[in-house]
Amino acid sequence: MATLNVAAPMPVTPRQHRIRWLFGSPIATAGIAVVVTLFAAGLLAPQLAPFPPNGQTNAALQGASTTHLLGTDEFGRDVLSRILYGIRQDAIVAVVSVPAGALLGVSLGLLTGLAGWLDTILQRIFDVMLAFTALIAGVTVASIVGPGLPAVLVTVAVVNVPLFGRITRTSVLTLRNRDYVVAARVVGVRPIRLLVRHVLPNGVDPLIVQLALSLSLAVFIEGAMSFISLGVLLPQPSLGNMLQKSINYLDRNPWYAIGPMVVVTLLVVGFQLIADGLTHRLLRR
């Protein structure tokens, strides 16, 4: 009877550990479910959308019905179909710009650890970049490259650089005097390798939290820039430019506004929930 031996627990790799932390948090799981569902719907827009996103008809500004679940817009286009295609713009920004900005920010943040003068210069550069708040940065970029999706892509990347740069710099500062880093330096590990292979992996947790926050910010910026005609240009649908137009027709078809409002909110809040869950689990706050 005494042989009822419980199998030794499988050793958990750091990555498995992290994935468990992620799904161990109910709010993070809820956030992931929401965001993945919406992005999947956007990705499958050609299959899911009942109508082509730019198919104009005479049935303008109809209310919700069984053919048009969220009614039609001022050109008789199906609102639901346009929302599904609109989600794609956010998906592009999330997949392209956020990683690009994060990568650049982390690289610059690591560089601060190489030399004191480099740290001073990069700190001032981050200060200047942070003085351009998200939308002011968006206006600046739009006036340089012109309104459109490219302006949104550049803005989101640029805005993220100092955010990731600062966090990485803090990690470098706190970790570089740890015994294991000092030991590695003593045995002759070169500075860049030291930063990338020894410091960075141990400072990755706050960066993951920031990644979730940045995805939320990316959806916000796309919507805001498109809302003020500096982002995704009509007739290409985006959640922001649909909301901008819908405000003139709130009395005729309120679903034209409510649809994009719900989707934007779910995306932004969804990424926030992921960030909150990760903060609890990874940073133990």
Binding site: R124, D127, V128, A131, F132, T133, A134, L135, I136, V139, T140, A142, S143, I144, V145, G146, P147, S216, F220, G223, A224, F227, I228, S229, L230, G240, L243, Q244, S246, I247, L250, D251, P254, A257, I258, M261, V264, T265, V268, V269, Q272
Partner: protein
């Protein structure tokens, strides 16, 4: 304190100076030739060259930059490239309205954020905390262009009690002006209110655990006096920092809010100037927005250091 100010102010000025170069350089990267745009579609190359000379665009970049900076500092903003209108006048007209909007938003943010933050920080009852927590999470995350359209839908279309957009000067007609102001100011204030509430709640909870409050309870102070005279002042410094940053960000937020509510402020002017390729106006307003942010941040740091002497001795 003065020593701290002497250390802090130059670095803010340096960042401001670097930001002015960035704005100038970036706008000069913009595609499109302002002189050609200003001269009109049918202008001959000679006319464009004359226009370029007239606008001072054939000077060296350094002297263009210095001229621009001198104009900014002396308040002479010059004339718009294409429309030819006085930029100073355009900015003054819009700025008053934007200040009105942001002032309203700051008052609302402090009132709503303060009340919610005190509630969350002090209340030990779970339902109260859960509701306030959910509300602040939503108010923080929901973008202004969603909350704004929702406000219009509910308060102007479904229950038509407030105008959907537009503006009336508070000074000229306060009762009508306030009706136009409520929705835009509320919309702009929500994210700031939520942030203030969260910081205040965290800060209050920390202060309430301090020994001196137990002493206050022991010697029989009234709860109200304990909270507002003893706990709150000690909880405020970190909140103050975040208030400064929130106000600094409102100018960016105003661009969207003004677009929702057709509010004739500098946010609208900036957006329209980008669309119309009025680069000089864009350049001026961007520098203004960045300067407001940097100066507010600096003031916040100084006030923070004044209230909390520990800050001064750091570094």
């Amino acid at each position: 304190m003065i020593r701290y100010a002497i250390r802090r102010i130059p670095s803010a000025l340096l960042v401001l100076f670097l930001a002015s170069i960035a704005v100038f350089a970036l706008i000069h990267l913009a595609k499109g030739d302002p002189a050609a745009l200003a001269a009109g579609p049918d202008a001959s190359p000679a006319e464009i060259a004359a226009k370029r000379h007239q606008l001072g665009l054939d000077d060296s970049l350094a002297s263009q930059y210095l001229n621009w900076l001198r104009g900014e500092l002396t308040g002479d903003l010059g004339n718009a490239y294409i429309s030819g209108g006085s930029i100073g006048e355009l900015v003054r007209n819009g700025l008053g309205n934007t200040v009105e909007l942001t002032s309203g938003a700051v008052v609302l943010a402090l009132a709503l954020g303060g009340a919610a933050g005190m509630g969350m920080g002090v209340s030990r009852r779970r339902p109260v905390n859960a509701v306030l927590n959910a509300l602040t999470t939503l108010a923080f995350a929901v973008p202004t262009y969603v909350s704004g359209v929702l406000l219009v839908l509910v308060l102007a279309v479904i229950f038509p009690i407030l105008p959907a957009g537009g503006h009336e000067s508070l000074l000229r007609d306060p009762t009508i002006g306030v009706q136009y102001l409520i929705m835009p100011a509320l919309c702009l204030s929500l994210p700031a209110a939520a942030t203030i509430a969260r910081f205040l709640a965290t800060s209050m909870r920390q202060v309430l655990d301090e020994d001196f409050l137990a002493t206050g309870v022991a010697k029989g102070l009234k709860t109200r006096r304990l909270l507002f005279r003893h706990a709150l002042p000690n909880a405020l410094p970190p909140v103050l920092t975040i208030v400064g940053i929130q106000i600094g960000q409102m100018l960016g937020g105003a661009i969207v809010v003004e677009a929702i509510f057709a509010w004739p402020g500098v946010g609208q002017l900036l957006r329209d100037s980008v669309l119309d390729h009025e680069y000089l106006i864009v350049q001026d307003l961007l520098l203004f927005a960045v300067a407001v942010f940097i100066v507010l941040q600096m003031i916040t740091d100084l006030v923070h250091a004044y209230i909390d002497p520990r800050i001064r001795t750091e570094h």
